[in-house]
């Protein structure tokens, strides 16, 4: 079956209203044309279904939808605003851990009886602690959020 050039007329007639009130020649054509006949049957079924589903539509009130949208937008804005603070907390935690490691190294050197290490090794250890602790602090902070 091929499309019929009169299909737009059929669609227009049904979309505008009742097919039974369409022009006689168009209805006669649809009765004899397989493509237009099929179109009429499908359109009538779909439009009836549309009317039934529209009647069944039980949508929330506009005010409720607006209220929920504002609440959600506010929550998202709050989350966005707190993100830099979370990152800063993570960085601060890592710095504290690094400084603590450095002080621990200095304190270690104050006791000559303990085995001594190279200052570069101590610095590397401090940095290592930073690298290990920073992601941990971030994970803990984000999990808390």
């Amino acid at each position: 079956m091929n499309a019929c050039p009169r299909e737009p007329e059929v669609v227009d007639a049904i979309t505008r209203g009742d097919w039974t009130r369409a022009a006689d020649d168009l209805r006669a054509h649809a009765a004899s044309c397989a493509a237009c006949g099929e179109l009429v049957t499908l359109m009538q079924a779909l439009r009836e279904d549309h009317a039934v589903v529209l009647r069944a539509a039980d949508v929330p009130a506009a005010g409720t939808v607006w209220w929920r949208a504002t609440i959600r937008a506010r929550a998202e804005a709050a989350q966005r605003a707190s993100r830099p603070i979370t990152v800063a907390q993570g960085v601060a935690g890592a710095c504290i851990a690094g400084v603590a490691a450095t002080f621990a190294g200095i304190a270690w050197r104050a006791f000559p009886s303990l085995p001594q290490a190279d200052p570069i090794v101590m610095l590397a250890l401090g940095l290592g602690v930073c690298i290990v602790v920073a992601p941990l602090v971030l994970v803990i902070t984000l999990a808390r959020d």
């Binding site: 079956m1 499309a3 669609v11 979309t15 099929e38 179109l39 049957t41 499908l42 359109m43 079924a45 779909l46 439009r47 009836e48 279904d49 549309h50 039934v52 589903v53 529209l54 009647r55 069944a56 539509a57 039980d58 949508v59 929330p60 009130a61 506009a62 005010g63 409720t64 939808v65 607006w66 929920r68 949208a69 504002t70 609440i71 959600r72 937008a73 506010r74 929550a75 804005a77 709050a78 605003a81």
Partner: protein, 197 residues
Amino acid sequence: MRDVTLSSLERLGLGAEAPVIDDVTQTFLMDEDAFRLFYDRTARPVWAYLARITGDRQLADDLLQESYFRFLRSRAVLDDEAHRRNYLFRIATNLAHDARRRAPMATTSIDDGIEHDHTDPRSDGDATGRAVQRLDLSRAMKQLKPRERSLLWLAYAQGSTHVEIAQTLGLKTGSIKPLLFRARRRLSALLQREGAR
């Protein structure tokens, strides 16, 4: 219009405890009065569209809310009501297709709970025949591809033009006619099969 149940957001208490941020509605696409008017004109057709293309009432409820939220938060420049409407339907289409990819099975069928109009002056037999016809249509629609369902619903149920359908589905206007014809042929074949059962 109906009362609504609490969303997961509200159950988590975000609504009550969210800190006061500068008026977030300033970032919305329209003010509350304009939204109410727009919503009252579009909510039912959007819900019907979502319900028929997903085949799931519950999902249609959720997607309706999400569609309007995304619409309000969008930064699109929409000159007139027709553009706003097409844009809203486009958001709804994308959400429905995404939801279908995530969970293809319907949980609450669109045909559950739809009351058939028994006050119709036509005979009971006629009403039953129409109900059966609608059920066949519903089953046949479910077997179509999502894009075919959207095309048929927009073109034949809603009476959208090819330009509007192209805007809604993100297709070229020239491709609508052949796609629609193919979808129609498929639906017709499926309905014949359903009717023969």
